[in-house]
Subunit: 599 residues, 2 copies
C-alpha cells in the first residue's frame, strides 16, 4: 500500500522561515496568520489528508465513477464519507472571505491545503478544487443577488461548483463555442448546448451543483468577444434559499480517461436550462480568466503533488529494495546486496525529484503570498509588484510545474523497475494522474504563449523587468558559501534575459519566432524561478547553521540540494536559449503534406 506523509516540516520552513508569513500578522487582513495558528493548520491539514483522503486514492482509480441510467453519478467507495468529514472539519472555508462564512486565513494556507489534498488523492481534490475558481468568478462579477444565493453555500462546500468551457469542437479557441443563451422574460437565460470534459460535472457528494457555463447570446460575434458567463444550478434555488425544481441539465456520459478515474469527467447536456448572467453580456472572457487563474495555480500544484507522492514512495522502495553493490564497494557487506539508493543513477532521480519538489513548493507558496498581497498589500506599489509577479509566475507554475511534475513522476516509477509498471504498486497511477495537468486549464503550449505573448509584453515589459530586478537583488545579496549558488543563478537568469532580448528583436519581424521559442522560454523561467527560490532557501539555511540549530542535518540538506539543483538544472538554460535563437525558420518550413507518411 503506497504511503503518504504530508511534508509539513518543509512547508513550515518555507512559510515561516523563507516567506516569514508570521511577520505579516501585523497587517490588516493577515491577523489570522499567527505563528501558532499557521503551524496548527499545516499539521492538521497534513494529518487529515494522510489519514482520511490518501487511503482512497487507489480505490478511486480502480473503481472510477459510475453513471446510472437516470444521469446520476456515484463517486468511488469512501469518497462521500471522506468529503463529509472534509466539509465538517471546515477545510473548504479556510481561505475564503469572512463575509461569506469563510475563515479568512491567508491564501498561502489555502494552497498548502491544495497541495496536500492533491498529493493524497488528486481526483478527490478536484471536487472541492474547482469550486474555488467558480466562487472567484461570482465574487468578482456576480450581482449581489447571485452572490447571496450561491457563494456561502459554495464556500461551505454544501454545493460544489464546476467550470463549463470546452465543447466537442473547441477547447482553446473559445470564440467558437456554440452553446446558446436565450434571454427570458424573467431576466434569466435559457441555456442549450453540449459541454465536454467537465470535471466533477455530476456526482453524489453534494445536494446541488453550481455550473458556471460559457455561452453565446443571440447575435453575439463569432469570437471570444462574443462569449458570456452564466451560472446554471443543477437544482434551481428558491427565493428563500431552499432547493426547488431540477434544472434541464444532465450528465450525458462519463469520459474514459487515462487517469484521474476517481473524478467524474462529464459530458454535460444543457437543454433549455435556466441560467443567470454573471457580469455583463459578452464579457465572459474576463470572468473566465478570473476562474482560470486560480485554477491554473491549482493545476501547477497538482504537478508538484504527484511528483511528491511518487517521490515519497520511490524513496521508501529505494531504501528497501536490494540489488547489486555500490560502485565504491559493498555498503552493507553482511547483506546479499545493497539497497538501490546506493546507486548513483537512482540517487540522480531522487535528487532531481527532491530539488524539484522542494523548489516548486517554495515557488507556489511565494506565488500564493502574492495572491494575498494583491488583496492585502499595504501600498499600491506592493500591490502592483505582487500582481505583476503573479501574472508572470502563474503560467510558469502551471506549465513548467506540470511538465516537470510528470517527468519526475515518471522517474520515480523508474526507480521501481518492473514493479513500477504493475498497477498494485501504485506508481503508474501517479504518472497517469499527473499527465492531465499538462493538458487541462490550458495546455502547456498555451501557458507558454500566455507567458511570452501576453505577460512579457505586459506594460511594455515593465513586469518582466520587475521580476529580473527581484532576482538580481537576490543574487547581489549572496556572499561566502552562497556565492557559487548566486553565480549559477546569475548565469541562468542571464540566459533568460538574453532570450527575452532575442524575442524583442525578432518577434516583430516574424511572430512565429516567438511561438517557436515560447515553450523553451517557459522552461528557462521555470529553472530560474526555482533557482531563485533555492537561493532564498539556501540563505535561510546558511543563517540557521551559522547561528546554531538542533536541526543541522535538515539545513545542511537544503544547502546540498541547492547545490545539486544548480549543477543539474542550471545548464539547461543555455541550451534552451540557443534553441530559441534558432528561430522559427526550419520549424515552420515544411509544407503540411510533408508530415504525412509516404509510401
Amino acid at each position: 500500500m503506497p504511503i503518504y506523509n504530508a511534508p509539513t516540516r518543509d512547508t513550515k520552513f518555507v512559510v515561516n522561515e523563507v516567506l516569514d508569513l508570521p511577520s505579516y500578522g501585523n497587517r490588516p487582513g493577515f491577523e489570522s496568520a499567527t505563528p501558532d495558528l499557521i503551524d496548527t493548520v499545516i499539521d492538521e491539514c497534513g494529518k487529515f489528508c494522510a489519514e482520511v483522503i490518501a487511503p482512497l486514492n487507489q480505490v478511486g482509480d480502480s473503481e472510477g465513477c459510475t453513471r446510472h441510467p437516470d444521469g446520476s453519478v456515484t463517486t468511488p467507495t469512501g469518497f462521500k464519507e471522506a468529503f463529509n468529514q472534509y466539509v465538517e472539519a471546515g477545510w473548504s472555508t479556510l481561505a475564503a472571505p469572512a463575509d461569506f462564512g469563510g475563515q479568512d486565513m491567508p491564501h498561502v494556507l489555502g494552497f498548502v491545503l491544495e497541495e496536500y489534498v492533491s498529493s493524497a488523492n488528486q481526483s478527490f481534490g478536484m471536487y472541492p478544487g474547482l469550486t474555488n475558481g467558480a466562487v472567484n468568478a461570482l465574487l468578482a462579477f456576480g450581482s449581489d443577488k447571485l452572490k447571496e444565493t450561491y457563494v456561502s453555500n459554495m464556500i461551505a462546500n454544501k454545493w460544489l461548483g464546476t467550470m463549463n468551457l470546452t465543447e466537442p469542437h473547441c477547447g482553446t479557441d473559445l470564440g467558437l463555442i456554440r452553446t446558446k443563451a436565450e434571454p427570458q422574460a424573467d431576466g434569466s437565460y435559457s441555456i442549450t448546448g453540449t459541454k465536454i470534459f467537465i470535471s466533477a460535472g455530476e456526482h453524489d457528494l453534494t445536494e446541488n451543483i453550481i455550473h458556471l457555463v460559457l455561452a453565446k447570446t443571440p447575435g453575439a460575434p463569432e469570437s471570444s468577444k462574443g462569449i458570456s458567463l452564466f451560472v446554471v444550478p443543477k437544482i434551481l434555488v428558491n427565493d428563500d434559499g431552499s432547493l426547488g425544481e431540477r434544472n434541464a441539465v444532465q450528465c450525458g456520459s462519463i469520459e474514459h480517461k487515462m487517469g484521474i478515474h476517481g473524478n467524474s469527467t462529464c459530458v454535460m447536456n444543457y437543454d433549455g436550462a435556466k441560467g443567470w448572467l454573471v457580469g455583463e453580456e459578452m464579457r465572459g472572457l474576463a470572468a473566465m480568466f478570473v476562474m482560470m487563474n486560480a485554477a491554473r495555480l491549482g493545476v501547477g500544484i497538482q504537478g508538484l503533488s504527484q511528483a511528491e507522492i511518487a517521490y515519497q514512495n520511490a524513496v521508501a522502495y529505494a531504501r528497501d529494495r536490494r540489488q547489486g553493490r555500490a560502485l565504491t564497494g559493498p555498503a552493507e557487506p553482511d547483506q546479499k546486496a545493497d539497497s538501490i539508493i546506493v546507486h548513483p543513477d537512482v540517487r540522480r532521480m531522487l535528487m532531481d525529484a527532491k530539488a524539484f519538489t522542494e523548489g516548486m513548493r517554495a515557488l507556489y507558496l511565494y506565488a500564493s503570498l502574492q495572491v494575498d498581497l494583491t488583496h492585502k498589500a499595504e501600498t499600491e506599489e506592493e500591490r502592483t509588484l505582487a500582481d505583476d509577479l503573479l501574472g508572470l509566475l502563474t503560467p510558469v507554475i502551471k506549465g513548467y510545474g506540470t511538465d516537470k511534475g510528470y517527468a519526475v513522476a515518471t522517474d520515480m516509477q523508474q526507480v521501481f523497475g518492473g514493479h513500477g509498471y504493475i498497477v498494485e504498486w501504485g506508481m503508474e497511477q501517479y504518472v497517469r494522474d499527473a499527465r492531465i495537468a499538462m493538458i487541462y486549464e490550458g495546455t502547456n503550449g498555451i501557458q507558454a504563449m500566455d507567458l511570452c505573448g501576453r505577460k512579457l509584453a505586459h506594460k511594455g515589459g515593465a513586469a518582466i523587468q520587475a521580476f529580473f530586478a527581484q532576482v538580481d537583488e537576490e543574487v547581489a545579496g549572496a556572499e561566502g558559501e552562497l556565492k557559487p549558488l548566486a553565480d549559477a543563478l546569475a548565469k541562468a537568469v542571464g540566459e533568460q534575459k538574453a532570450a527575452t532580448m532575442w524575442f524583442m528583436q525578432n518577434a516583430m519581424a516574424n511572430p512565429n519566432n516567438l511561438g517557436a521559442g515560447a515553450h523553451h522560454y517557459m522552461t528557462i523561467m521555470g529553472v530560474v524561478t526555482l533557482g531563485w527560490m533555492w537561493l532564498k532557501m539556501a540563505k535561510v539555511a546558511a543563517a540557521r547553521l551559522a547561528e546554531g540549530t538542533s536541526e543541522k542535518a535538515f539545513y545542511e540538506a537544503k544547502l546540498t540540494t541547492a547545490r545539486y539543483f544548480f549543477e543539474r538544472f542550471g545548464p539547461d538554460c543555455g541550451a534552451l536559449r540557443r534553441k530559441i535563437e534558432a528561430g522559427a525558420e526550419a520549424m515552420m518550413a515544411l509544407d503540411e503534406d510533408m508530415f504525412l507518411t509516404a509510401a
Copy 2:
C-alpha cells in the same frame, strides 16, 4: 479509429540509399538482398502490419488477456487469427538461418519487421518478438540435440519462446535468483521456483511454449557466476518430435499493468519441471546476454515504434483540428479557424517527433546492418568494427531510444489536447505502452551503466575511439550546404569526447563519478548517433537533389529536418556535458535518512 501506415518510403530511403543494402548483394550470405526483393519485403510487411495487426491494437488494450482457473490464458479477440496469418505468410522465418527453415534474409529486414509490427501493435509483436532471443541463445549455446528438438519449430513460430529471468526479489541483480535446478539421472534437471514479469509466459497462440529459464544448480555461488540457463518446454517433446506430457510449469497469474495489456505478462510457477541445460553449468550469464542483446535492440525499436504511430495520428489530428489563428495572420480566412498545425508549438512537437523517428529509424537500421556484418563480414577488421559498434549502439538504442520514444509519444498525446487523455482516441495507449520499454530488458539506468561502465572501457577504449573515427570521417566528408550540419555534429561529438575524457580522468578516483554521469552520457551519445545518421541522410538527399529527382519535396524535407535536428537536439549535448562534469559529490552527499519526509 487510429491510423497506421507503415513508413515504407522512409525505410527504403535508409535501406537502399543511405545504407545501400543492395550493394551487399554480391557478398556471401547477402545473396537474398536483391533490390526487388528488399522493396517487396518492405512493402508487403508494411501492408500486412497495417491491415492485419494494427486493427487489433485497441481491442488488445481494452480486453487484455484472460487467465482461466486451469492456468490457461486466452489472448484478446482476433490475436490468434492474426497470428496464424502471420505465421502462414512466413514472417517469422524472414531473417532466420536456412539450416533451420529460415529465409536467411538480412537482419536489416528482420528489424524492419519488428518496427512495423510493434508500431501496429506492440503487445502482439511481443509474442513472436521474444522468441528471437530464445532462438539466438539456443543457436549459440545449445547442444545439437536441443537445436534439433526446438529451433526449427520456434523459428517457424509453431512454438513460441520466452525468457525467464526475473524473480520477485530480483531483476537486475540476477546473482540473487533462487530458482533451483536439480540434476536428474536422465541428464535433465528438475526446475523449481517462481519467475515474474514473463512476457508471453502463457497464451493460446501456439500448441507449445518453450521457456528459457535461469536457475541455480546445487552448490552454485550466490552471484551471477552461479547461474545456468535451461530450456523448459510447456509440453514435453517426445524423441520423435511429437508432443508428450504436460510439464510442471504453470501460469500462476497475469500481472495488472499500466499498458501492453494485449500481452500476457505472467507469474510462472515451476514445480519440479523438467528442463535441459543450455551450454555449461554456471555459464548462464553469457547465454542470457545473447538473448538480451537481440531483445535490447528490439526494445529500442519499440521506443521508435510507439513514437511513430503516435506521430502519425498527431499529424492527422493537427491537420484536421481547427483552433485559433496563425500568429502571422489567418492561414485560411474562409474558415472559422486555422488547423492547429499552423501553431509553432504544435509544429515544434511534430518536428521533434519527425527528427527523432526518422533519425532513430536510420540508427537502428545501421545497427541491424552491423548485426549482419558480425555474421557476414568480408574481413576480420570489418567484423571487429561491426561488433564494436553494435556493442556501443545497443544500449544507446535501447536507452535513449525508449526515453525519447516515450517523450515523443507524450508530446504527440499533447497535440490532441484534452482528447489525448481520452481512451477512445487511442493516444494515451501509446504512452502507456511506450513506458514499459524504458524498464524491461534492463532499465535505462542499467543501459547507461552498460555503456559507460563496460562498453567505453572495452578493449581499453578502442571501441569508442573507433566510433569517434567513424563520426569524424562523416564530418570531414561534408561540404557546401552540408558544412553547417557537419559543424553542428562536430560540436556535439566534441562534447561527447570531452565527457569521455572527463570519465577517464575522474572515474578511477571515484567510480560514482561515472555512475552519476552515465545517463547524461547515454543521452549525449543518443544525440550524436542520431546526428551522425542525419548527416548521412542529408548527404544522400543533397546528392539526389543535385542530380535531379522527381521526389524533390521528399529530399528537401530531409535537409530541413536535418537542420531542425541540429538546431533543437544539438544544444543539449553541452548542457549534459556540464552536468557530467559536476560529478557525484552533491548527488551522493545526503545521508539516506534525509530523503525521508520530515514532519
